[in-house]
Amino acid sequence: MTDQIREQISALLDGELPKGEIGLLLRRMERDPGLRRSYESYVLAGEVLRSPGGIVASRGFSARVAAALEDGTSLPESAPVPLDRGSRRWLRPAAGVAVAAGAALAAVLLVRPDPDASARMAGQTQRTPSIRAVLPVGGASPTPEQNQRLAAYLVAHGQYATPIGRRAAWSNALATDPGITRVTIEIPEQR
């Protein structure tokens, strides 16, 4: 059975595997390190034969790329669009505009100054120092709109809350979804 699968891998590398067999084979290879090792070895042999004395990637290069992709800075820049959904490409700009509009609206609603609060703050003599906050802005679980709303809420909350309350709110938000992307923003000093 394994020989049969490795023969499929060999044909896959040559672009000679029937299309119907590709999907299952790739799934198997993703799961099975032994099959990936065979695949890597076949690739290497081909490169060496085509380029005698040429340069090959060092051992561990692919692992280093994988490690670089694991860190949070290497997430895809935008939500990927599957190749077979080209007919809906026109929706992407519209969705972007909708997200931006939603975020702006959330910011207006959530950060809108409260006249009473301003009056209360005018009476305060203590100034809150400038702070840096780590805020979630995107991720797999919440939608972008939800993240934008959360971010706007945390900014607004951070302007008025005590340091302890502020820290508790951020901790809660960050603990909710460990997979979310984080950005560091500056919250200006209150005046």
Binding site: S10, L12, E16, Y39, Y42, F61
Partner: protein, 217 residues
């Protein structure tokens, strides 16, 4: 051999020589690459690892030649793969994946050279075989001695394994890997069924793999 989609409007001229010089991409769209890209776009990170395994040598070689430095070449090649992963949502499958990756790798190398104010190796340059070997040898020497020795050993092992193959397997693997013939063309050349070609190529790869295994594990 047809070629397409070389690095875009950045001052480069159209390539004109054999693709082996800098592993210029072929136009053919590989179905397995497209399948892997779709999976990455659906969020399956493991699929990207398979693309890296497939193209790591090509990209490292390309970038190392552009930079004239194999040690830095790996860093820049890694950066190119990371950029490709980040941008994969924009890949539409209009060209071969490697064509797209090749463009990212060339641009990443050029950015790296620009940041160091170095003159890039003109990849249109018509280097002779001996000059290419000299460049490759010089680049190997910037690696650690251990890495250079391993690379040499890998080359020797593969070539020795091919020499030791029975003639039918050796012919099949050479026609495929070096001459780039399709299974159908090899079947015609060797006067045997396509299924036999597939089996011979696989057995040849297995024989090479058995000798490579101790070096790779």
């Amino acid at each position: 051999m047809p070629m397409a989609n070389f690095p875009p409007d950045d001052g480069s001229t159209e390539p004109h020589e054999s693709r082996d010089r800098l592993d210029r991409p072929e136009a053919a769209v590989d179905e397995s690459d497209l399948e892997l890209v779709k999976r990455v776009q659906r969020g399956e990170r493991g699929a990207f690892d398979l693309l890296v395994l497939r193209y790591q040598h090509k990209v490292v070689k390309l970038v190392s030649r552009l930079l004239r430095d194999s040690a830095e070449g790996e860093d820049v090649a890694q950066e190119a793969f990371v950029k490709a992963f980040r941008a994969i949502g924009s890949f539409r499958g209009d060209s071969a994946f490697y064509t797209w990756l090749y463009r990212i790798a060339v641009n990443t190398a050029r950015n790296s050279m620009a940041s160091r104010h170095r003159r890039p190796l003109d990849y249109e340059a018509d280097l002779s075989e001996s000059e290419q070997s000299a460049v490759a040898a010089r680049m190997r020497h910037v690696d650690t001695p251990e890495a250079a020795a391993l690379t040499d050993e890998i080359h020797q092992t593969v070539n020795r394994a091919v020499e030791e193959l029975p003639e039918d397997l050796r012919t099949a693997i050479i026609l495929r890997e070096i001459e780039g013939l399709s299974y159908e063309e090899i079947a015609a050349a060797m006067d045997c069924p396509v299924g036999t070609v597939r089996s011979r190529i696989f057995r040849a790869r297995e024989a090479i793999d058995r000798q490579l295994k101790p070096l790779l594990d």
